[in-house]
Symmetry: C2
Subunit: 432 residues, 2 copies
């Protein structure tokens, strides 16, 4: 560490714009190695992204099936009364051939018998003759119907060879459903990256500490960020806490860089004399991509990359450390802005940023000298085209309470002509 | 089962409006018992809803702390040069009392010493004298600052006794973070309901079946709905498949009603002769709340309630069965419309419906004779106030492909004056 009297008294890192920071992150995401795996189709693949397009090997439906409960008939046989000659139910096929004046009782999903050209709904028929055993002998159509009515043709929904899940699709319940419908047993997907969370700071004690000594604080950043990445479906390693000791931080980072694609640290990136994260990163041979970003909360947000040898990799792989400020609001917001998009990109997601919508402000907001990401709660009103945004309390970066109940990050510009952005104005909001 | 010739030829259930169906569901949700539990604060409580407001037993910050790296000074002592008499770092307190002309080097989060009235940022100082050991002896302020600058007062963010997480709040990463920050170890929450998924139909075979016999289909509804409820954070039991046999269905439902709050079945609710779900529900002593809903896809959607004795409950509890159509699009859409809001309500959520926004149509859509929930993909454009909605393929209820890539359900009215809703018109969309 440089002695206090000799240290830099201003940050040597110029604060870059959000646009530049996002471009750098995009560039890192492109350069980092994506991993793939072939996995069994089951619940554990929810949230993974398909890497190789899956095509159908079958027609759906495989044969002509009825879309209604009713009777398979010959539509143009001129006969309004039809003899009921059999039954075709879902799961039990009638294998005869229909002749004029005949019909087969059929249920939704049942195979339409050969010779039949349409299905009339049961609601549009009357039973005109029945057997002693209360079986139907003859029905009468209330109206004539045309050929093809209520029949799904083979392959009318999916033809053999059609794409059923495209490369780049995130597997949700719908995608898992269609893979099951076509009997697909394995799928080639992006392997999710691993992210490790480390809290740094001499002042940190375990969150479970009952009485916290003066000057110490419970580490909430650690559990908060582990939870954040878990909520968004990523594999998180809880790297625990480390004090502001250069060597201890270096060892901890070096250890976790071997098994993680990304490390997110909190603390140690400001102008304090114990703020040595940037120096540790350089010592590890990593390159500081940026050391400050002109935004709020999170000005000292730092990102470094370097090629690190995994235990089992022949070639060293590009790893990224996001060294975030220790203030809880800064760490949380910067995780949303920089870490989640990177993790999503490595996971194969095509949309890596939170969805942005326009919202209407419920109150005046004072603008600052940096663009700001303001935590807000959204209210849906029936007669409004835009949700109403309410700011969640004091937005100072140390206020962890400003994150509670936040459903969106309002994207506010820096102060220019006006000190305020006014109630009822529309602003962009990132939906969390 | 009633003999084919004697059965009803039209549904005896009148199709109610979506508004009525939603009111009935709301009423059921109110009547069903909510369960509570006291749980340890850890990752496993993500997604649960707080049942008893959590208040702080401490001030945050607990004492005066610095918001910047710099020097704790007496702002109005008239002296621009200050003697550096000590250091107060995060995690290491300076316990002397500051006198005029003195200062204490301090880091972000460090305790502000007694006597000090402000913190000047290191960037706004010059080191004017140093020791031989490169320690600072004296600094000079570039500018005067006012009392209170860069100091967080005790309790300025949260006062002892303030609410930190309100009853009704869903626990996300932010809420977990603040509970950890205040050392809260246990929290009283809503216990999540249990939902069991059962697929009915003689035609169903396992999704893993390689060659499906003519007339049979792989059960995709089962895995699809298990995945859907799991995606939304609920505890799901996979109840498997059962054939269209009255007694077998009755036994399966009776068995699972003992351990589940809600059962979702697919199939057996239409006008086919094997469609006996409604009859089974009545036989179980349940009351059919509605048997058809005037909407698409999912007209025959059925909901029944009844008081059922749990194995371990003294009082029988109100249980709900949602008997959904077997067509995959219908089952999936009805799960979103009816099952998820009910599960959310029982879990204590205050917002039980999907968020609705306005979207702009990318194409003309033909309206039908029922209000329709059309699956759509949304595209965000930078220069547009509203996302652009693209319909995901053929919307026939049997088309499982129409669910793939769906990010929203467009809420379309039934046909009235016009057969179409036109490209570029705004419509409501439920975000999935």
């Amino acid at each position: 560490m440089t002695a206090p009297a000799l240290r830099d008294r201003e940050s040597t890192y110029s604060a870059i714009s959000m646009k530049e920071a996002e471009e750098i992150m995009q560039n890192i995401a492109t350069k980092m190695t994506k991993h793939f795996e072939t996995v069994d189709v089951n619940l554990s693949i929810l949230g993974k992204v398909v890497a190789t397009t899956v095509k159908s090997t079958e027609n759906m439906p495989p044969a002509r099936v009825s879309t209604k409960d009713g009777y398979a008939i010959i539509a143009n046989d001129g006969k309004r009364n039809k003899l009921v000659i059999g039954v075709s139910l879902a799961g039990s096929v009638y294998d005869g051939v229909l002749q004029p004046g005949q019909c087969v009782r059929i249920s939704t999903g049942g195979i339409v018998p050969e010779g039949s050209t349409a299905v009339v709904m049961v609601e549009h028929t009357i039973c005109t003759k029945r057997t002693d055993g209360d079986e139907e002998d003859e029905i009468q159509l209330k109206d004539y119907i045309s050929d093809g009515t209520n029949i799904r043709e083979p392959g009318s929904e999916v033809r053999q060879g059609d794409v059923i899940v495209r490369s780049g699709a995130k597997i949700g319940s719908a995608e898992l459903g269609i893979l099951n419908a076509f009997g697909i047993k394995k799928v080639h997907v992006f392997k999710k990256p691993t992210v490790t969370i480390i809290s740094t700071g001499n002042e940190l004690v375990a969150p479970t500490t009952e009485y916290v000594p003066l000057g110490m604080v419970r580490d909430s950043n650690g559990p908060q960020l582990v939870a954040l990445f878990k909520e968004y479906g990523f594999d998180v390693i809880d790297g625990g806490r480390v004090s502001d000791d250069f060597e201890l931080i270096r060892e901890k980072l070096e250890h976790h860089l071997k098994t993680s694609d990304i490390i997110v640290t909190t603390g140690g990136v400001s102008m304090g004399e114990k703020d040595n994260l940037k120096e540790v990163l350089k010592k590890l041979g990593m390159e500081i991509q940026f050391g400050r970003v002109m935004m709020k909360p999170g000005l000292p947000c730092t990102v470094a990359t370097g090629r690190i040898k995994n235990a089992d990799d022949v070639e060293p792989l590009l790893k990224t450390v996001l060294a975030l400020p220790g203030n809880p609001a800064s760490a949380w917001v910067c995780s949303h802005l920089f870490a989640l998009p990177l993790l999503r990109k490595l996971s194969g997601y095509q949309r890596i940023h939170h969805t942005q919508i326009k919202v209407r402000l419920a109150e005046n907001i004072k603008l600052g000298d940096r663009p700001e990401y303001v935590r807000a709660h959204l209210e849906d009103l029936d007669n409004e085209d835009f949700p109403i945004a309410h700011v969640t309390g004091n937005q100072i970066s140390s206020n962890i309470g400003s994150l509670v109940g936040a459903m969106a990050l309002l994207v506010l510009p820096k102060k220019e002509n006006s000190d305020f952005i006014r109630k009822n104005e529309l602003v962009k909001a990132m939906i969390l």
